[in-house]
Symmetry: C2
Subunit: 373 residues, 2 copies
């Protein structure tokens, strides 16, 4: 095999597939990037057996077809450092044992791995799919990914529900203390789909997506896999098996107290209160909601914080406590200038949502002793 790359294009492709390189594995071949040069161009592939990524390298000259596998981190470092000019020419050749990489005045020679040991990406039946803009997909992930569960004790909570009904896509994540829901309207109508995509996959997809509103991504759904296809890149991931939680019964549109508040001011006050929290001393943030103002109080071993915020209130006065982190996570991804909170009583969930229900954040309150506030 003998190839000529433009350094920048090779580096871009490496950075994309690096996201699927196994960091801890007993199979050394999974730490490699597969390079395949054929008539359709030059492709890089990485596969950690959960997530696989394949991408085409732009502007590559194939002098001799073939394939090889190179330890990914080493390959990435060599290409990054072999020249500091983006448009330098990098030549790569393989004799079946040694890969030689030449650029400017430097030559690297490294052992290659047997490319035939590299596990092929699963082929996906491309019957069921949806199309949306990269920007929208990136937003949907950003707005929900924070409330997946970080630990594996309930596998389903480590993923997100993607549910397609007609021209409507709903994305849901939950971790037992809160639920995050994002609804969006697609440009076409599609067949119904209901799958659970691993959170790790969505995180990686989100990092690679350019986030362009003009550029599209196609998501193909099969029984066990999901495939994200955009520009020159394909990402294949396993799905999480099982029936997702029935969340509709947990949602309610009744409320006794509705608060409208400036999002930034609310967010800043909550962030401030977390100064007084230590890992070992989890304290709730107490919101005391009255006619036109809301007081926020935090009492911890370290000290106290009091803050006053002007609000617009409908319904009853209420005193309610929350884990401030859960409020912060939701507020940080809301782009609106004002947010509305819907509450019933100090034991019932609070809903932060917009009029059109593009987003719904359900957060459970925490118990506290009202006498001490």
């Amino acid at each position: 095999m003998k190839l000529n790359f433009k350094r920048e294009d090779l580096l871009n492709a490496i950075n994309i597939v690096l996201k699927a390189v196994s960091s801890k594995t007993t199979m050394p071949i999974l730490e490699c990037i597969l390079i395949e040069a054929g008539t359709r161009g030059v492709y890089l592939t990485a596969n950690d057996m959960e997530l696989g990524i394949e991408t085409k390298v732009s502007n590559c000259e194939v002098l001799e077809e073939g394939k090889t596998a190179i330890e990914a981190k080493l390959f990435s470092e060599i290409v990054r450092k072999i020249s500091l000019e983006d448009d330098s020419n990098v030549s790569l050749s393989s004799d079946g044992t040694i890969v030689t990489i030449v650029c400017d005045n430097s030559t690297f020679r490294i052992q290659e791995k047997d490319p035939d040991q590299f596990p092929e990406l699963p082929s996906i039946d491309q019957e069921h799919y949806i199309t949306l803009s990269q920007f929208t997909l990136k937003e949907l992930i950003r707005d929900t990914i924070f409330s997946i569960s970080p630990n594996d004790s309930n596998k389903m909570m480590t993923g997100e529900l993607f549910e397609v009904q007609g021209d409507h896509l709903k994305v849901v994540s939950l971790d037992g203390h809160r639920i995050s829901i994002r609804n969006t309207v697609l440009r076409d109508r599609y067949e119904d789909v209901k799958v659970i995509i691993p959170g790790k996959t969505l995180n990686e997809v989100s990092k690679i997506l350019a986030g362009d509103n003009e550029k599209e991504v196609v998501i193909f759904f099969s029984k066990n896999y999901v495939l994200f296809k955009f520009e020159d890149t394909s990402m294949v991931s396993r799905l999480i098996d099982g029936e997702y939680f029935k969340i509709d019964s947990m949602l309610s549109s009744d409320y006794e107290t509705k608060v409208t508040v400036n999002k930034k001011e609310f967010l800043d006050c909550i962030e401030r209160s977390t100064i007084l929290i230590r890992e070992s001393d989890k304290k709730p943030l107490i919101m005391n909601i009255e006619d036109s103002s809301m007081s926020l109080k935090m009492n911890s071993m370290i000290g106290t914080m009091d803050a006053q915020i002007l609000i617009h209130k409908e319904g009853r006065d209420l005193m309610i406590g929350f884990n401030p982190k859960f409020l912060l996570d939701a507020l940080r991804v809301i782009d609106d200038e004002e947010v509305c909170l819907y509450m019933t009583n100090p034991k019932a969930p609070c809903f932060i949502k917009d009029q059109e229900e593009n987003y719904i954040y359900l957060i459970l309150p925490v118990n506290f002793n009202p006498a001490s506030y």
Copy 2:
């Protein structure tokens, strides 16, 4: 005590003294910042018993004089987050038990510590001193600090020699494998001084100095302490006791081979070669110096690198090996476009220095088997 600060000025002062706050100590008072408000203004002080910093807060209104001590990290976080506007007004008051900090709509109340327990900074006899620009001091430190020894087994190697003779200041650091020397001419003549300043102190001084060429810093030397005074800040540090190494006998101006090389090209090639080095497998970089070119070779378990650089050579051909890190450290702080290396044989030290000997870097070569290169 009752004070009004401009948030930005208070935060600047906190950030300066934070550098001398003890992170691990059995004396909780050393984790605090002392605040003293008197007729000469408001001063913040921190002291970890090795290094002490005192700074004056600008634009502070003293409504009631007094003093208090507050846990430094907490204080810093509160002032950072209590408002996002630099020019917000922060009021701070103390009743001897509780400190109350108010800004915009938020109020923090935290326990204060007994300010009388705070250890006073040593008072320094201000007889012997030198004056130089902040820029120069910052440069002298940057250019030498990398070759102090990181471990305490030889205390003197963890500091730097500051030697004043007439109008000449020499700064030296060494770690057993290399010596870094910076010479500079002062604007006045001073009394002779020879002290060893702890590397940690120099690191912190360097971080706080604005690095301005117009602004000055005065360094006072006493028997056991050094005091850096600039703008509204004083930093006092213990000195390291003892007689510094006699380095003059290690320096020599004889050489058999002189190489002149483009610094950036040389540096890039060496950086590239370190890709192939792992902690467990320390390999030398071999330089093969011939008439108008130098080849750099790295052979490791991972692979090989070869690079060619054009040079100007005087004297004999030479093959010599170095720990690439030592070359990198020196080259990174040299601002010249071209550097000169002076060598004698594969066992004798290499000198990287300029004509005027503003800088001299002595690096010991490492043994290698010439047959394998």
